[in-house]
Amino acid sequence: MPEYRFFTAGTAATFRAAAGAIVPSDGESPGADSDAAIRVADRVLSERPLRDQKLLRTFLGVVEWLPIFRHGSRFSRLSPEARDSFLRRLERSSIAKFRQGFFGLKTFALMGYYGLEDTFQELGYPGPRQDAPYYQLRRGGE
């Protein structure tokens, strides 16, 4: 198992399953459940205030176990279709905390995937300009 700063093995499995539903892999590109995307999310989450970290950990626990009541299975063991459907219900839930939790979960999943430079090509986005002072200074120091 990769070494994480924020995730435990359990929360990483839940997050990976949710991230894969938020940005699914397809024939053309990986999804937000790729190792690289999870590492970005892990790094950013580890730098968040402890209170926020605790909230997301708690919410990941809710996401993992809540489907037991409706689907008879933990979230990370659901089919991709069932995960998608469960998360959409959270987004539109009448319970504000569920909507807020999903918003946070989605934010970090998207940050992981769309913050990756490997994703830029898929978007047609060139990324940082290499003639800017930051990059010129580093080249000058090489």
């Binding site: 940005v23 699914p24 999804g31 205030p49 918003f103 940050m111 769309y114 913050g115 986005y125 930051y134």
Partner: protein, 496 residues
């Protein structure tokens, strides 16, 4: 605890604090000692990597502080330059009559509309605010302009404060070329050159008559070094200028337990609530090339209470601004280079219950969208869609819509309804928080006088957007600078 004795301590280096430090810095030659304490690090242009997730380090709370209701999240910078380090440089003067209404409605006899308006041209010259030429209009801006023109909607251009801009588009991640003329590049260097002492990584936790206390931390890797060792610090100062931005200034005064502090402190916060929407065009837009923001329309300002401005966002924030999840979201993002983008900004009213409190040592924001603001959001999202369809959009995405996207203008009204504005599902954004330490003559309903002096504590002076008694209804930094300049002049008189 380290003790630092100065004549003036300025807290915050953004539009307000940077301006105060710059204006007072001429006094350094006559022996006046001024310190400029900034809670965030000192990142220079050579540390702006243009990588979106890395540059979240420029912002408070990692990018956004959500309100308790999760209806809206505030984005504010925490670094030398404050939010002028990460804004696009959109330069609006306070609308004519606004300052006069503040003076009239809040008993501010010393606040004069003519005086404030007269400051704008000079400040604009100082910071290179100007209209960019037509060669700087990228496709994203052209599409918006053409859409407005086809509908007969007046479209305007705003000034931006840049010099030798190469149009790289990375303004909101810190200008990597130093072309954006915020306080990071103009007022703070001017103040330092005149003898003001900049102390980055210095978080002030309490102010009192005659000084302040705080904590200095080590500069993070990559930021400019500081000669101040980490640890607690106590300032002795004749004048303490609080200019940490609406959220932090209000929270700082509240946390300081100042005797007789107005019950209005932290209240009457306005956020200029904003919502981004996107249109997929047939041909590439490549909004990431060229200057990101040039045009706006105020055609719906009087009738419906909002502006629409062009906007551009990097991939992560773009994706975060889309509804739902799954293949729809991924498909739409795959057309990132084909997306046009606008942001609608709502004129919200100053309400006492929209306020800042301090909870467990952290800022808590309590804010509810009024009915009028909700209606304005809905109207603005439909209207932005009409503009883009008139410009030839194939698909329009608004978070408020009850489906991922609409593909025909006729669908806008039925699909974008107030019922779609559900907190947590739709989280509006705010980059223009105002109020909280509002000016006024009545200590029961206002926090400071017309020169930012806290009622009952004339040595504590507020100088940022928290002074605004009501929303400016436009991007506020120029108005902040003008008010900060007035307050600096009053401080100089006090010192002399």
């Amino acid at each position: 605890m380290r003790e630092i004795e100065v004549d003036v301590l300025v807290i915050g280096s953004g539009a307000g604090g940077g301006t105060v430090a710059s204006r007072l810095s001429s006094l350094c030659a006559s022996g006046v000692r001024i310190a400029l304490a900034e809670a965030g690090p000192w990142w220079g242009r050579d540390s702006f990597t243009m990588r979106e997730t890395e540059m979240l380090r420029l912002f408070k709370e990692g990018g956004a502080l959500p309100s308790q209701s999760f209806e809206i999240a505030v984005t504010a910078a925490e670094c030398v330059g404050g939010s002028t380090a990460v804004y696009t440089g959109v330069t609006f003067r306070a609308p004519p009559g606004l300052v006069a209404s503040w003076a009239r409605d809040f008993g501010l006899r010393d606040l004069d509309e003519t005086d404030v308006q007269a400051r704008f041209p000079r400040i604009e010259e100082e910071i290179d605010a100007k209209f960019l030429g037509p060669e700087m209009e990228n496709r994203n801006n052209r599409i918006f302009r053409e859409g407005c023109e086809r509908l007969g909607i007046p479209v305007k251009q705003f000034k931006v404060n840049v010099r030798d801009c190469v149009g790289c588009g990375f303004c909101n991640l810190g200008c990597p070329y130093g072309a954006k003329r915020g306080t990071l590049e103009v007022q703070v260097p001017h103040a330092i050159a005149n003898g003001v002492e900049l102390i980055p990584n210095c978080r002030i936790t309490r102010v009192f008559d005659g000084g302040a206390e705080g904590v200095i931390s080590d500069p993070p890797p990559g930021s400019r070094p500081s000669e101040y060792a980490k640890g607690p610090v106590r300032f002795r100062a004749k004048i303490v200028v609080v200019a940490a931005g609406t959220l932090a200034s209000s929270a700082l005064l509240l946390a300081s337990n100042l005797e007789g502090l107005s019950p209005a402190c932290g209240r009457y916060v306005t956020l200029h609530p904003a919502l981004t929407s996107f249109a997929r065009m047939e041909n590439p837009v490549r909004g990431f090339e060229g200057f990101p923001k040039l045009h706006y329309t105020d055609a719906f300002s009087d009738s419906n209470g909002y502006y629409i401005e062009t906007a551009f966002y990097f991939p992560f924030v773009t994706a975060k601004s889309l509804p739902g999840l799954g293949s729809d979201l991924k498909r739409f993002m795959r057309d990132y280079a084909y997306l046009a983008c606008a942001i609608t900004l709502v004129h919200d009213d100053a309400e006492a219950d929209n306020r800042i409190t301090v909870k467990d040592g952290r800022v808590a924001l309590h804010y509810r969208l009024s009915r009028a603001s909700r209606e304005a959001v809905v109207h603005s999202q439909r209207q932005a869609g009409r503009i883009y369809f008139a410009a030839g959009a194939k698909e329009y995405v608004s978070l408020v819509a009850d489906r991922f996207s609409v593909t025909r203008p006729i669908e806008l009204e039925s699909n974008i309804q107030a019922a779609g504005l559900v907190s947590g599902k739709v989280v509006l954004s705010s980059a223009h928080p105002m109020g909280g330490c509002r000016m006024g003559s009545d200590p029961n309903t206002s926090v400071t006088d017309a020169f930012g002096r806290v009622h009952g504590h004339p040595g504590i002076v507020v100088a940022d957007a928290s002074l605004f008694p009501t929303s400016s209804h436009v991007n506020p930094y120029l108005t902040i600078m003008a008010l900060a300049e007035r307050n600096a002049e009053a401080i100089a008189k006090t010192l002399s």
